[in-house]
Amino acid sequence: MARESLGLRRTALSVVVPVLALLAVVLPDLVNPYRLFLATLIVIFAVAGTGLVVIMGWTGQIALAHVSFLGIGVYVTNWLFSDVGVPWPIALVLAAFLASFIGILIGFPAARLRGFYLAIATLAFAELISRLFVEVDVVTGGIAGKSIETVRLFGMSSARSHWYMSLIVAVLVFAGVHRLGGTAFGRCLRTVRDAEVATGSLGISSTNYKLFAFALSAFIAAIAGGLFGQLLSYASPDNFHTALLIQFLVVVFVGGVTRLSGTVVGAIFVIVSRELLQDVGDWQRWVFGISLVLAVRFLPGGLTSIGGRLRSRRSSSGEAITSFGEGVPA
């Protein structure tokens, strides 16, 4: 029975995946540039969400500095590319390495902190970084901001190039993270989340795994940032603040923080709501707040957990990240 359904799933996948891939490749010819821009934004938010899946969903750390790493990606990529003259893909990777180095720096205290102490430390850190965005005006243009130089692939239009660039990066990131999740390494990360006290006796260094998770999540955030900058075309320190953090929290927690598919669902949810509520700006924030509250209250596994719930009827299965954390039940 189980094997049968697995086989069925595989056949379904072998049909769905090529169709989706084809659709993705021809999408620029099907929709207008604005729709394509929104689709690109969804892809970028989903990529950034993967970073949060690694650190929050798998490793169980309340890390709230994601937007800072995204900002580092935006600024450093652009600075290396337009001011220093490094080719764009290399600039992107260098920026991502810088972000993951800083991720390790914040990871050091974080590895010792648990629960909400980590939330405070990462929020404070994010505040520091946003100060830095104002101060280091050579790179960031200070409080006034800086325009981002556009990259074009083989002379395509900018909307088109951004779409294909984001698509390529998204495929690489998703494939990489998905693969990592299935390895012993990915299981170790989840062990750090579920049974940190046990890790020591199993010869797993929870500190090292946390540091790695921080580095990886910062790396992914900066990669997403490099692409995000292209869409923004003008970046100021205000872009990387609480409002954006809330949107990323909604991406992962409405979608389902333990699953990669959750970030796609969540990214679609956020970008579509942003689009629908564009004319009533202030309602956006309210809707995101309510979504976050409702998701934590009623759907700890996110939208992508609904299918599994209906199938197994065990509503309190172990998928929900929010029911883990301290090791010792309250």
Binding site: A124, L128, W286, L292
Partner: protein
């Protein structure tokens, strides 16, 4: 210098009061409440609205505090109690969500333009070379009163029940403690403290929808400096933070003001995560 210290104590008192509200809820319900500042700001806007409608300050303020308490009780009952059995992960996200909802609702109702909320008593007096406003005396004095009040409160039967419940939710219930009521009392009380803190803070500066944002992190920084278990520690942490901030703003530059607090908290969390006044505490394994 002394003038700067006094100004620092004034902003420090706001941080300290909010830190007390944070510690109170944490001690009773084990929830780190990131919505503390917004829970205080919303009732202050209600107070402003009441005064605008022609009510006197002395009537509007108690009504606003009652509104704040009711708001706190409703939030606790509606969204906090159902997730109490879960970890800090859930409660951090939930209270962040609540703060976003409150903050944006406030913006939707009242908009973003700055307003003035006039204090009933104004003016200043002079000791030596130092000017002291009545506002400053009031805010520092009330802060002290809240701290001693809470210290006393934690020695009363209610306060002891509260700490027992935070430690362990099952045993106190077996011993006849009505856990739900303990939660309500702590959230109601914390909401009242936040309302007073935000009222004093906004009438000393301006009343805008953006007032809560910077305060909440400061409150947590103050509580961290004091160690989350201690009322006195949280209060002193708040005062210290205010003074340090003001002095660095004065002697270094205004940009350093915000950074100094954050650098402090990161260092404290790395070196002494249980606060500056803590004793070693074993962790259950």
């Amino acid at each position: 210098m002394l003038q700067q210290v006094i100004a620092g104590l004034q902003s420090g008192s706001t941080y300290a009061m909010l830190a007390l509200a944070v510690v109170l809820i944490l001690k009773a319900t084990d929830v780190p409440n990131f919505a503390t500042a917004d829970m205080g700001l919303f009732p202050v806007f209600v107070i402003w609205q009441l005064i605008e409608r022609g009510l006197s300050y002395w009537l509007a303020v108690p009504l606003g505090i009652v509104f704040g308490v009711v708001l706190g009780l409703v939030i606790e009952r509606l969204v906090i109690r159902p997730i109490l059995s879960e970890s800090h992960f859930a409660s951090v996200l939930m209270t962040i969500g609540v703060s976003v909802v409150l903050g944006s609702a406030l913006q939707l109702i009242w908009g973003s333009e700055p307003r003035r909320l006039d204090a009933p008593i104004s003016g200043n007096f002079k000791i030596g070379d130092v000017f002291i406003t009545y506002d400053q005396v009031l805010i520092i004095g009330l802060g002290l009163a809240f701290m001693f009040g809470l210290r006393y409160f934690f020695t009363t039967p209610w306060g002891i029940r509260m700490q027992a419940v935070a430690e362990d939710r099952v045993t106190p219930r077996l011993l006849g403690v009505r856990v739900g009521r303990v939660f309500s009392v702590s959230w109601g009380l914390a909401a009242a403290i936040s309302t007073v803190a935000l009222l004093l803070h906004t009438q000393a500066s301006v009343l805008t929808d953006a007032a809560a944002g910077p305060l909440i992190l400061k409150a947590f920084v103050a509580a961290t400096m004091g160690g989350f278990g201690s009322v006195t520690g949280a209060f002193l942490g708040g005062l210290a933070l205010g003074v340090i901030e003001n002095l660095s703003g004065f002697y270094i530059n205004t940009g350093s003001r915000a950074a100094v607090a954050m650098i402090f908290v990161v260092i404290i969390l790395m070196a002494k995560p249980d606060g500056l006044f803590s004793k070693a505490r074993p962790r259950e394994v």
